[in-house]
Amino acid sequence: MNTTETNDRQLVERVQRGDKRAFDILVLKYQHRIGSLVSRYIRDSDEVQDVTQEAFIKAYRALPRFRGDSAFYTWLYRIAINTAKNYLVSKSRRPPDTDIDVDGEFQADSAVLKDVAGPESHLATAQLQKVIFDAIENLPEELKVAVTLREFEGMSYEEIAEVMECPVGTVRSRIFRAREAIEKSIEAIG
């Protein structure tokens, strides 16, 4: 079990023990991915929000019965796909024949969302990307390497610590400081 799954497991157990606030973090953590997933089935953005919300409510209701045989996200992902498909059927629209692979979901995200987004949105995205890349470029070397390995290579803190030959706590702090610096750059452009 990787660290993300461990954190999810802790949060799930909290919800199962009656601490509903822990579900807030699960929502925040996965709402974007679930929203992106749903948007591959449904184009209208209002409908995407409705179905995303419905998927989370279904997950919340079913969580007491979640046994942890699979990762929480895999389980949530299945609920979201079924919710989206049922929604399409209820609207007499045909759901796609093939499901979206849970692992390949991120690769396909951009293509679909680019179709939906208008030119203004593209411009804003491109502008934002430039600000973020510039901010990363201007970071001190150790922060730049840490955040790059995390965000682009998807390495765990432990792996980054090995690569950078420093303690895990230092990696964690560097990534945080890098994010803080990027955030400041974004806020500076309003």
Binding site: F56, I57, Y60, A124, E151, F176
Partner: protein, 201 residues
């Protein structure tokens, strides 16, 4: 709140988004999440940075992110309060009445199960049992009937049948007895049936 405390929290949040937070940090964040809005906005910002870097969804703004979050959590909140209202509407009196009804139907079902002759038994045997049942005083309650019949030595086949009650009936009976026991412990000194009221009617 001091700057260092805020930074510590945000660093924990940064670790959590990467799935690297410790259990203590998760515990603290869960506790403070709703009371500290800056945590939600920081999370949205970190998520936004990640999304933009991975180019998976630049069109989702921080406001959109927070709006969707508020929408989902509100829906769950109202779901919870709805469940609480339903629970409130089921008063203890209703629960006790329901339990008594269940118990009564179980007793009747078990009693009928005992009374019915098995298909393989010869008719004469069934007739003999009917006559033996006829010896029991008619003003006794059905429950007493069962006990009396079971204790009589001339109705041995019925006793063996009682032992052979299928598992499902035994399980239900045990469940009922447990439930009854729990109810009694929850309401010490209280009667579940008001005999005085019953006799007035």
């Amino acid at each position: 709140m001091t700057r260092s405390t805020l930074d510590t929290k945000r660093e924990s949040l940064s670790a959590l988004i990467d799935g690297e937070a410790s259990e203590i940090e998760v515990h603290r964040l869960v506790r403070e999440f709703r009371s500290d809005e800056s945590l939600t906005s920081s999370w949205a910002m970190y998520q936004h940075i990640r999304s933009t870097l991975r180019a998976d969804s630049g069109s989702v703004s921080i406001e959109h992110h927070q709006q969707l979050f508020a929408r989902i959590t509100d829906a769950i909140e109202s779901e919870d309060s709805h469940s609480r209202e339903i629970q409130k509407s089921a008063s203890p009196r209703t629960i006790i009445a329901g339990s008594l009804a269940l118990a009564a139907s179980l007793v009747v079902a078990i009693f009928i199960g005992i009374q019915q002759p098995s298909e393989s038994q010869p008719l004469a045997d069934a007739g003999a049992q009917t006559s033996s049942m006829g010896t029991v005083s008619s003003n006794q309650s059905p429950v007493l009937d069962v006990q009396t019949v079971a204790n009589q030595s001339d109705v041995q086949p019925r006793t063996s049948e009682l032992v052979e009650l299928d598992e499902e009936k035994q399980r239900r009976l045990r469940a009922y007895l447990n439930q009854h026991d729990q109810m009694s412990r929850m309401n010490p000194g209280k009667q579940f049936v008001n005999y005085k009221e019953t006799s007035k009617k």
